[in-house]
Symmetry: C2
Subunit: 540 residues, 2 copies
């Protein structure tokens, strides 16, 4: 089988993204995850550029990696130095890795304007830097920075740079579209010309996404013979990002028939994408190809019914291949047939003319117009469905609550909540403090309820998301905007998401908290009932 | 100059996106904006599919468009009907447009499984539907659904479908990669084969982004002779979205030399992108090529210094061409040189060894580690800079505050804030209510301050964003998560963004609110000072 080497630079070029900053600990965790996924190379950083990267190389030696090799990145030696007294090259060697990548200028305007040296001198920098490193490493790669821009303006010079890199004994010449402005047809044609000129050179590709063409440019380079592809998880990187490995890898494996990852590892792709976005503390991009939450989500009525009959009708690959899954969405566009389908998932076989279905549709429409959103908050939807059908008990009623925030001078603010909760015939009145008003309310509610419902002790809150509606209506703008709160909760066996909407963030949170507690109680009842029925039928 | 027609389907296929829902009013506003941008066709919707679309076609006739033609979308007639008694075709005609697009099945498995009819019958549906509509419209397009998937499995049948569409007198045959799974090389080769078979047919392209290849596939289709490109603003659309016109248009105009929009209109692209995301109530995607906030943002130290010397070094096009702009970011990666550059923007020519610069760097590092982020919140940064340099007065001190949330039974919750604010020697103690706790605090603060600083009356809050840190640390999860609040404020002349961070959303909001008020007062002082100095120098 044809193979391509995957070179991940999330930890180096990825951190050039506007909103990505990794600590040393973050970098170690991401490296372990990338190794598990099975990429061939993990570019750990540029040791000379900052202390985080330097520390990363010290730390990572303590971890045994099973698939990937760690690489260090740096530039050719400084114009004012020689290779053997250049601190940048020294720090590359000090990083203790077996694989080093150095980048050199290949676009003449960069040589003159950024490096401020002669074209001739730059050729020396490339060759001498590589020759100096060569005996000290097992593999040595040359990143030809701005190769395609350079080629379009001064073809001879860029080729001269590549030849010097070969004289310097680089194993792979990585052609970089640093500014991301090159089109697929240009990539194809330029690589063909390079291949003609240097038929025995191993080529790699390093593309940026400024023209939304990085994935296409990368796979076209592979079609033209590139043996190494550089990119980042989720396409993180400076400006519009680097070539997205989460799209390149499945395209190469599933469409072009190349082996990139160890067998069966492609199914780790979605979880790797989520993990990296979580460590980077960035929201995941729902529409992201292959691994995004929406990548196999179906909303339109026509599509939903076709895809249920045969997934191939609207899915280009099986979502499970990349560890993703199909989702059927709740939406007014999809109409009744979707509601009925969802209801079936919860065990209700309803008829579309059932008056409860009509009530549910009307209620959903009303709630959606207020800003409630059940696409993510399925637990709130399941509760709503069961309430409309009269299947959910009223476990408690929060009669009154009060939240008090007090801040004096330079002290930390104090948050305190009081709640009055009715459970059956009992009225529980209690209070609690917390880290912030929502946490205080949460603590007070639990304090009031746990004595009646001890099973609530095993549940905890996992995540809390706030979405402010950025209304175009001036009256709703600013601090009086409407907010939607999503709360994710979990117990040892399940996770669920609930929703609340209000002008008031505390009130919106209260709704989502109540739904979350109710859902836990409802599920716990269902389990008990299932168990009792099972025992009864066995006894019978 | 070579031209390509741009066919926008944001209002139809774009609304299939998981999180996009447009009201009729939204659709009208987007259509006007698209017309202003200068696309050739605006697909308004599928009148038979839902009442919103039907109403849109009734309404849009009242608006004079200067560039675009409105088109209506529908399917070939139903298997059980004839063209002249099919309600779907009737509603297309009833929409009153001059341009109609109908889609037909061209992949055999769809004909058999989704349409449940014979291959022969489907050919009739295509031809008869088109022939029926032909005399009723000026332009008639045929969307060949799943064309590329069909071609790969049953080439003869897909070509037979296209031939029927030509017999039905369609003006353009739009080849659809409905599932988004086709690679650029396949697109090129298949279009070449179609061209060989149907040398006189006008072809169009309709790509989806499931493999992150939609933009490449679209421009390759144009290189191969397609005269119409279908796509959506920001790439909105089902699953991973449609081909993104915000990338296709500049690629075609600036890289491939095609005319797409009226002269000079390309610079409206960024504002169109933002407008549509605002109407769709979706956050804009910062890394979006060409029009994204990060598209021309520079963070790395090396890049920042090069791009300042010559923007071409790290920018593939001039950002102004698409209405975007260059941004230099604050970040620890960029180090001192960036801080000095930023400081210069605010009028401070500092030396890098200045002890104030070192203090500022240490302070920034400390704040960033707590979660403060100044990339967006430049006003907070400017205040911080001026405070460290001793240039900002203390306009007020919020000594104490208290926020009280009360909710009784089914009533709406009441939010009330009390503040004790010191201004010079005066202590102002007051209270206010609001829509939610943050709004109440905002109202109370203003009430206390406006009598001392009447200029605060002219400022207002524009937007309020909350970001919850989704910590991997279990102790910080759930409702006790740390939150970052960004507040955007404005007066008749400026807009500014401030930041606050805390475990407590009210406290984080308080910080951002205080910064916002302080910034307004600081700027107003600066203006007065500039004016006074100017008058003094003129008098002198």
């Amino acid at each position: 089988m044809k193979t391509v080497k995957i070179y991940d630079t999330t930890l180096r070029d990825g951190t050039q993204a506007e909103d990505v900053n990794f600590s040393v600990e973050d970098k170690i965790r991401v490296a372990q995850k990338l190794d598990e996924l099975g990429v061939h190379y993990i570019e750990g950083g540029w040791p000379a550029s900052n202390p985080t990267d330097e520390r990363f190389f010290k730390e990572i030696h303590h971890y045994a990696l099973k698939n990937a090799k760690i690489t260090a990145f740096g530039s050719t030696h400084a114009v004012s130095k020689n290779a053997d007294n250049d601190p940048n090259l020294k720090s590359l060697i000090a990083s203790g890795v077996d694989v080093i990548t150095i980048f050199g200028k290949t676009w003449d305007i960069h040589v003159k304007e950024a490096l401020k040296t002669t074209l001739e001198k730059n050729l020396e920098l490339i060759k001498n830097s590589l020759l100096f490193l060569r005996p000290k490493v097992k593999e040595l790669f040359f990143d030809a920075e701005h190769f395609f821009d350079g080629f379009k303006e001064n073809k001879e010079y860029t080729l001269a740079c590549l030849k010097k890199a070969l004289e310097g004994k680089a194993d792979v010449l990585v052609l970089c579209d640093t500014n991301g402005g090159t089109t697929p047809s240009e990539i194809r044609q330029i690589i063909r010309e390079v291949k003609k000129e240097l038929p025995h050179a191993n080529l790699g590709i390093h593309a940026h996404n400024d023209s939304e063409l990085a994935v296409a440019n990368s796979i076209i380079a592979v079609e033209e013979g590139a043996i190494q592809v550089q990119g980042t998880i989720n396409g993180y990187g400076e400006r519009c990002g680097n070539a997205n490995l989460c799209s390149i890898i499945p395209n190469l494996q599933l469409k072009l028939g190349y082996a990139c990852l160890p067998e069966d590892n492609l199914r780790l792709l979605t979880s790797t994408s989520l993990f990296v976005s979580e460590v980077a503390n960035l929201p995941s991009f729902h529409r992201q190809p292959f691994v995004g939450k929406s990548a196999f989500a179906h909303k339109g009525g026509v599509h939903v019914s076709a895809v249920r009959k045969n997934p191939r009708t609207y899915e280009h690959i099986k979502p499970e291949l990349v560890g993703n899954k199909q989702r059927i969405l709740l939406s007014d566009l999809a109409g009744q047939s979707n509601i009925l389908f969802k209801a079936r998932q919860y065990g209700f076989h309803l008829d579309k003319n059932d008056p409860f279905v009509l009530e549910l549709l009307a209620k959903l429409k009303e709630l959606e117009s207020q800003g409630y959103e059940y696409t993510a908050a399925e637990a709130s939807f399941e509760l709503l469905l069961n309430r409309v059908l009269g299947r959910a008990r009223t476990y408690f009623t929060l009669e009154n609550y009060r939240v008090l925030e007090t801040k004096r001078k330079k002290e930390e603010p104090i948050s305190e909540a009081t709640v009055m909760v009715r459970v059956g015939g009992m009225l529980e009145h209690t209070a609690a403090t917390g880290k912030g008003p929502v946490n205080a309310l949460d603590n007070a509610l639990r304090k009031a309820l746990e004595k009646f419902y001890p099973c609530l002790k095993e549940m905890h809150l996992i995540d809390f998301k706030v979405r402010v509606f950025s209304s175009l209506n001036r009256d709703l703008a600013g601090t009086a905007s409407k907010v939607r709160v999503l709360i994710e909760s979990g117990d040892p066996k399940h996770r669920w998401i609930t929703v609340g909407v209000s002008f008031n963030i505390i009130e919106a949170s209260r709704q989502a908290l109540e739904d979350s507690l109710n859902y836990k109680l409802f599920k716990s009842d269902q389990e008990k009932l299932t168990k009792a029925l099972k025992e009864a039928s066995e006894g019978f």
